[in-house]
């Protein structure tokens, strides 16, 4: 059993606080992704779990055992680094088996583990090569192989795909997913790419400025973002946010007046607002429909992607709005566009950016 428990973890470099109190529970066998913008502390948090950074305060437990004073190599974790960090002077075979040799395994024990890992990652024919003779994807696999042979309880990945080209990234993404399925180990994966997060994770942890903004499954974060930051970070293209004011409209409904004067009535779902309260309306581009009555906008840019068409338009007050339309939709630049919006898909955030209404279509 290797659940990972973080309690009130903080990290400071001198006077600078990088991690400002993180509580997190990662279940055994879970694939957990830390996602957030650069400098949000996601890599630091991972390195603290690995034992490469000291914990300033708080407690970290892996498999129920307190880890703060345990050496990185004794934590039962293995890490795949962003730069792969392969040892350039060693062959693939030596790279993979180095950790086993250092922990005092005998050659007879190492050989079968090495073979198994190499087969699993299709590295068998490359075992005698040096890292400099491998392609990016192959190096990546060696780095993963080095982690696998140690049979860790927890795998840590630090932006492992960021040095690969787009096609290879998609391929490795599925391979890592398959690996997780086959090994059943706990995996913690750091990325700034929300597509990676959405496609791989059981649980996503959105970090910003050293604190957790929200923890949840990919679809939970997509449908029920807790605040404006998560709403903007998860989902591509980004959620549209339009400022306005809200007033109660009777029968539990809320009327939102947008900046350009358009009015939208939402089902409050139990939420209440004070009259004239300033709010932000959030609506994803895919929940807007061009050619229906609703908002009025002027087309600024159209991207015809074949499967879909993206319109970037400006409302009367100048604010930008992105619309994801059918691949056959057409509109000339500069022409006016009616945009219908589904009230059930509208999110509403208060002045502090916290969600009042979730536009959760799965309800």
């Amino acid at each position: 059993m290797a659940e990972v428990t973080l309690r009130a973890i903080t990290k400071s470099f001198g006077d600078v606080k990088i991690i400002k109190g993180v509580d997190l529970q990662i279940a055994d066998g879970e694939f957990c992704v830390f996602v957030g913008p650069s400098g949000c502390g996601k890599s630091t948090l991972l390195r603290m779990i690995a034992g490469l950074e000291d914990i300033t305060s708080g407690s970290l437990a892996i498999g129920g055992k307190e880890m703060a004073d345990v050496e990185p190599s004794d934590r039962g974790v293995a890490m795949v680094f962003q730069s792969y960090a392969l040892y350039p002077h060693m062959t693939v075979k030596d790279n993979i088996s180095f950790g086993l040799r250092m922990t005092g395994h005998k050659p007879a024990e190492i050989e079968p583990k090495l073979r198994r890992a190499a087969e699993m990652l299709q590295l068998t024919h490359l075992l005698d090569r040096k890292p400099s003779q491998l392609s990016g994807g192959q190096r990546q696999r060696v780095a993963i192989g080095r982690a696998i042979v140690r049979e860790p309880q927890v795998f840590l990945f630090d932006e492992p795909l960021s040095n690969l080209d787009a096609a290879l990234r998609v391929q490795m993404r599925t391979e890592i997913g398959k690996l997780h399925h086959d090994l059943g180990a706990t995996m913690i994966y750091v990325t700034h790419d929300q597509v990676e997060a959405m496609t791989m994770a059981d649980k996503i942890v959105v970090l910003n400025g050293g604190v957790i903004e929200q923890v949840g499954s990919p679809l939970e974060l997509y449908h029920r973002p807790r605040n404006l930051f998560v709403a903007g970070f998860i989902g591509s293209p980004k959620m549209n946010v339009i400022p306005g004011t809200a007033s109660p409209a009777g029968e539990g409904r809320i009327e939102v007046t947008l900046k350009d004067g358009a009015k939208v009535t939402l089902d409050g779902g139990g939420a209440t607002v004070s009259s004239g309260q300033s709010v932000t309306l959030g609506i994803r581009p895919e929940h807007l429909t061009p050619g229906r009555v609703g908002l009025k906008a002027t087309v600024r840019l159209a991207e015809y992607l074949g499967s879909e068409t993206m319109f970037y338009a400006a409302l009367a007050d100048g604010s930008e709005i992105a619309v994801k339309a059918d691949g056959l939709a057409k509109a000339a630049i500069g022409s006016s566009l009616d945009i219908g919006l589904n009230p059930a898909a509208c999110h509403l955030f208060d002045a502090n950016g916290m969600a009042i209404i979730h536009g959760d279509l799965t309800r």
């Binding site: 034992g51 680094f81 730069s83 392969l86 040892y87 350039p88 002077h89 950790g99 250092m102």
Partner: protein, 297 residues
């Protein structure tokens, strides 16, 4: 059309040689030709001014019977062996200085200092350090043993005293080479090794030192060549004495042909040729290794 193609072709053929010409010409003039001349002169009896007399291999046969030659050769061997200590010592200091502490730059420059000052100054400083009466070392030895030892006046210790002086800047040189090498090691690799349970000496032996191979190679080259061509310190500190016991080949050559007392150009040239032959062994080894590495890369 055909003309154009052929002119472009000859341009491509010629251009590399034209670019090489200035360097090659200077190399020829100042290195290759003098080597040939030295070898040529070593077959003559010549005082540098008068008529040169062809004596064939006589200079070399004289050399074989000359005790001073064996002293020089023997001392050069000690130089070579002890100078190599500069490599591990430089590595040790580099490892020590390769950390982030306030003021580390100051410490680094202090350690680098002996390499910056002239060999002549190094020789003088160490001469004073060894000097009886006012030198620090004889006083320390005197404090413990009751008798003062004049290092540079004692045949048994003089050469080692000079080598110690030479090691001081040489260690600094090796240290700089290793500091640069350490800078190039990917910190993630060190972290990966930590995760792989490589600690302390294992980390150094399996991860750090193998990656410092280019630095070690350069350090070896400059140290071996530095040891073989040692001259300035011998000249400053003892002038070959006492009783010629600290001579090395290059100093012996200078004594024989260029000093106030020596005008034996042919004999000096023969010594130079022997020194050149010894160096050639090492240089060939280095070049072979470099070529092999280039082929593998």
């Amino acid at each position: 059309m055909a003309l154009q193609r052929s002119s472009r072709w000859s341009q491509r053929r010629l251009a590399p040689w034209l670019f090489l010409a200035p360097g090659a010409l200077l190399f020829l003039l100042y290195v290759i030709i003098p080597i040939g001349q030295s070898i040529w002169i070593s077959f003559y009896d010549w005082d540098g001014l008068g008529a040169a007399k062809w004596i064939g291999l006589r200079n070399y046969s004289d050399l074989i019977d000359d005790d001073s030659f064996y002293t020089s050769l023997y001392n050069n061997m000690w130089w070579l062996v002890l100078y190599l200590l500069a490599i591990p010592a430089g590595l040790a200091i580099a490892l020590f200085l390769n950390q982030t502490v306030t003021g580390i730059r100051l410490y680094k420059s202090l350690f680098f200092f002996p390499f910056v000052i002239s060999q002549v100054v190094v020789g003088l400083i160490f001469s004073w350090f060894y000097a009886p009466d006012f030198g620090l070392l004889p006083r320390i030895i005197g404090f413990f043993t009751g008798t003062q030892t004049a290092i540079l006046a004692d045949e048994r210790y003089a050469t080692f005293g000079i080598i110690a002086a030479g090691l001081w800047p040489q260690i600094a040189y090796c240290m700089i080479l290793y500091l640069t090498g350490l800078n190039n090691i990917n910190p993630e690799q060190v972290e990966a090794a930590r995760m792989d349970n490589a600690k302390g000496f294992a980390m150094l032996w399996y991860i750090v030192i193998p990656q410092l191979r280019p630095a070690t190679f350069i350090a070896l080259v400059v140290t071996v060549i530095g040891a073989l061509r040692s001259f300035d310190l011998v000249s400053i500190m003892t002038a070959g004495g006492p009783y010629g016991s600290t001579r090395v080949l290059s100093y012996f050559m200078y004594e024989q042909s260029l000093s106030e007392y020596g005008t034996a150009m042919g004999y000096g040239a023969a010594i130079a040729v022997v020194l050149f032959a010894i160096m050639l062994v090492f240089i060939s080894l280095f070049i072979t290794r470099m070529l092999m590495q280039e082929r593998n890369a």
